[in-house]
């Protein structure tokens, strides 16, 4: 699979040079620590050969929107050309005390909390600009949360196509079936963004959904 990606990388460069381009902006949305940036990194590493952003186990590591332009994937002879918009995790609450458990000083934790509130506002604003979304859900957690419901409700109301990415399936407590049972009307793709597991299925689903 990786060799295939590397071969396509050079073909993609050629396609970019000849100006074969569509402006599709795919936003990665979801809870803090659901693995959005890990998935964005896997995607950009597979198709561009470089990661997009830093990851950490501390929630709200991504506190502003990162955009990687002109990612092109190809699956079964179909190309999908898009910008990746990696957004901060959406939450309804931010308590700086939660960051102290990860060894941050009180000052650092408060600063992180302040930045995280701004990041959430920015992520919500980007809902007006994205043309497709990967809703990244941590498959080890209860998927029926207000943040997920709000994101999906807004995508449906705005008629923005989206896929649910059931992430972290490498962990024993993960259950993609639980996500499918809660959101039966939507396409759920189980992956491990960290290990690149099942990402081929995700790329196929993206080509089908967003092309």
């Amino acid at each position: 699979m990786r060799k295939f990606f590397k071969r396509s990388f050079f073909r993609n460069i050629f396609n970019k040079l000849i100006g074969k381009d569509k402006k599709l902006k795919i936003g990665l949305y979801g809870h803090p620590n659901s693995g959005k940036t890990t998935l964005a990194n896997t995607m950009t590493s597979d198709w561009l050969g470089k990661p997009i952003g830093l990851i950490s186990e501390i929630p709200h590591e991504t506190r502003r929107v990162y955009r990687q332009e002109r990612v092109k994937i190809e699956y079964d002879g179909v190309e999908l050309d898009f910008d990746i918009v990696d957004t901060p995790g959406i939450a309804t609450k931010i308590d700086y005390k939660n960051f102290l458990e990860f060894g941050l000083s009180e000052e650092e934790a408060k600063e992180r909390a302040k930045e995280a509130t701004k990041g959430i506002i920015e992520a919500i604003k980007w809902l007006d600009d994205v043309t497709g979304v990967l809703l990244v859900v941590d498959a080890t957690q209860d998927p029926l949360t207000q943040a997920n419901i709000t994101i999906m409700g807004n995508l449906e109301a705005r008629k923005i196509p989206f896929l649910i990415v059931a992430n972290k399936i490498d962990l024993p407590e993960a259950s993609a079936d639980r996500i499918t049972s809660v959101f039966p009307q939507h396409t759920v793709v189980p992956v491990s963004a960290l290990h690149g597991e099942n990402t081929g299925d995700l790329y196929q689903a993206m080509v089908d959904k967003f092309n």
Partner: protein, 127 residues
């Protein structure tokens, strides 16, 4: 908190009629004002997706790190059957919104919600 007792929990119940003539901005201001004051709000019906997003946005602007850390929202849904009974979809029956530092523990099933409210050193149980 509005109450004179710091360990008391004030709960406000709003019928859908009380909200239907308010604009989205008015609804959100009302919710944030009450929740910031430490009240728990139980509303008949729910917010639209764009109102929910606006509520999260407003909440983020109002978080002051020390005193107000955000909100928790829970909804109970009910089936809405179309005129001919051919299609069935879910609508929000009840929405419960409260300060995140008060709504400590919530157990939710499709038609049942149980919440433990933490008020300083004491606790209150709502079922």
């Amino acid at each position: 908190m509005d109450s004179t007792e710091s360990n008391a929990l004030k709960m406000d119940f709003l019928s859908s009629d009380a909200l239907k003539n308010r604009t989205s901005m008015e609804k959100i201001s009302l919710i944030v004002e009450k929740v910031k004051a430490g009240d728990l709000l139980v509303m008949e019906g729910g917010l639209t997706p764009s109102e929910e997003a606006e509520l999260i946005e407003t909440t983020m602007r109002e978080i002051d790190i020390e005193n107000f850390v955000g909100i928790d929202i829970y909804t109970l849904e009910k089936d809405k059957i179309s005129f001919f009974g051919l299609s069935k979809k879910k609508t929000i029956g009840i929405t419960i919104i409260g300060p995140a530092n008060v709504m400590k523990s919530v157990k939710k099933k499709s038609n049942f919600l149980s919440m433990i409210a933490n008020l300083g050193d004491s606790g209150a149980s709502l079922h």
